[in-house]
Homo-oligomer: 354 residues x 2
């Protein structure tokens, strides 16, 4: 069964702009030939790149946009300055108008989130959106959210994040009832901040049919893959994400230095180069590129601003998975089962399944 | 110039108890033969280990204690149950009574912090203590604080952490004016939580003579060593620390798996084994063992509970450095220059140096 999926692309986002966006689209198209794109950007910058890549051009509708949101624009500026003309806004709007199943931009995160909220609006009952990241672990992959959208989330928001993250895990990991943990600083129930403790209490009592709440996890559980979904407030989540990226780069640098220090080490490197290649691929941050905006009436994916075409193609893959499985509807349904008004809903569900 | 330093040791703390503590003391004594110890613990458990290590025995005064604080005791419990009889309490008390220059325990962190606050009392003007960790970076080492003592620090506390962390950096890194950064989630001034923004404003205006405030840093700056001292609230700091530890273990595991996959990889490993040994040492968490409690009238160091003798010896080394340089007095002096009442003090300092 094949299904044509259309992704809207902001060709002007990211450090490298159209080259990376169109290059990434070409790679993604090799993997899914039935993929279609709606591309937004400045004609003079995008058209030549598109003409040099006829396969992408033929699979795309291109729309010229006068305005480009800058990487250092404040979110409020981005919303003010003729926002409806920018490639970023129109990329998101294509999702709202049903022209695309998901929007993808490598531009300014704050502006993209502000536009997405304004244009798509939050799902009913969801107070604040979250950005979910896919985290490589020793067991495979986990979902970590929020990694920077909602600073100082309260207990209710953390519970919403659990519901949304679990729906995403079911969607992309093909799990029936993913495990969920709350990021905290110690496994004893007494530790940590009040919001986290309160969220834990709600999640335990809720006993949501869509996921299995497993209690608190700590920073070192992220890499272990202790649970499928790790829920945290956006400040701590963003710091955890960047700390892990930084540590990975630091260790790669140590390794590089160690392997070039002596001729025996260099010889060893030569023999083991296929192993190092494998390791490099495993540690490649491009494989897990893409922050997923959850909690809105439409799918928006943020690609890393410094990503290359390979990384951008990974983000397109992710956008496809999200669009294909209709994650938005999945969350809206689950949200009905996971909130203040849950007892009644849950009783209905439990009555229905028993 | 030699100086006899006495460290008080809680022989009952940590997963392995006296074996690791006395073993660590023996290693530390090899490095600093003029070191002296006051050791607290249960006679029946400690005495045999001490007798098997005559050099440590001869350099130590041993005191029997009936009570041992358990790893899962809540801090409040530890303070209630005959606290003055426990090895942990008496270890801290030895610092208060001037019998030791610093106290070291591998026991329950919450209990050790509660006892240290109760026994030693905060320094004048310091509202909340912090735990400082030494963080290996691409440039060498940085100090990161707080890593778990003060959840939800406000702007004033963050400023105190900056003052204390900078004093520690001057003490152990031998820097005249260490650089200080505030951990945040984006370098633009507009981002992040209110407390962090307010702390940034105070630090900028303060222009403290003891350190050079460099603005916001992000999670990936930790491994880069962008600044000498990274200041953060305890929840995010603890998550960053454990995430980095977890990521390091994860990558070591990837590396181990990659190097044993094929015979050429194993051959490569054989040739490069000295490089791998070097890398292993570089990544060895035991090298940076020891959380330093800052802001109290006396030095207390927390060793990792799962540390071995080598790691415990590193923590003893750290305790020696702290005791030798009289970090407590250094912080008390700097604190007078780094707070609400700073303008007057600063004018005096500036007048004195100009």
């Amino acid at each position: 069964m094949s299904q044509t999926i259309t992704i809207s692309l902001d060709a002007m986002g990211g450090d490298a702009g159209p080259d990376v966006v169109i290059g990434g689209a070409a790679i993604a198209l090799d993997r899914r030939p039935d993929l279609r794109f709606v591309i937004f950007g400045e004609e003079a910058a995008v058209r030549p790149v598109l003409d040099a890549s006829p396969r992408v051009r033929d699979a795309s509708a291109f729309h010229h946009c006068d305005v480009t949101v800058q990487m250092d624009d404040k979110p409020s500026q981005a919303l003010r300055k003729g926002r409806w003309k920018s490639s970023m806004w129109r990329c998101v709007q294509a999702v709202r108008d049903g022209e695309a199943g998901a929007a993808l931009s490598a531009g300014n995160t704050g502006a993209l989130m502000a536009m997405s909220k304004f244009c798509l609006k939050p799902l009913p009952g969801i107070e604040r959106p979250a950005i979910a990241a896919i985290w490589p672990t020793l067991k495979g992959e986990s979902i970590v959210l929020d990694v920077g959208a909602t600073i100082g989330a309260d207990a209710r928001m953390l519970v919403d994040f659990a519901v949304m993250g679990a729906a995403m895990a079911r969607s992309i990991f093909d799990l029936e009832r993913p495990t969920v943990g709350l990021l905290n600083i110690g496994v004893e129930e007494i530790k940590g901040v009040e919001e986290v403790r309160e969220a834990a209490r709600i999640l335990r009592e809720m006993d949501h049919p869509g996921f299995d709440y497993r209690g608190f996890v700590e920073g070192d559980d992220l890499g272990k893959g202790t649970v499928d979904v790790v829920v945290t407030e956006g400040f701590a989540g963003n710091i955890a994400l960047k700390t892990a990226e930084g540590t990975a780069r630091q260790l790669a640098e140590y390794l590089r230095a160690a392997m070039s220090r002596t001729w025996t080490a260099r010889l060893g490197y030569f023999f083991a180069r296929s192993a190092f290649q494998l390791l490099k691929e495993k540690m490649d941050p491009r494989r897990a590129n893409g922050g997923v905006f959850l909690g809105l009436n439409g799918m928006v994916i943020k690609s890393h601003g410094g990503s290359d075409a390979e990384g951008f193609a990974s983000a397109i893959d992710l956008a496809c998975d999200m669009a294909k499985n209709d994650l938005v509807r999945m969350i809206a349904t689950d949200r009905g089962l996971g909130s203040r008004d849950i007892p009644a809903a849950l009783h209905r569900v439990k009555a229905a399944v028993s």
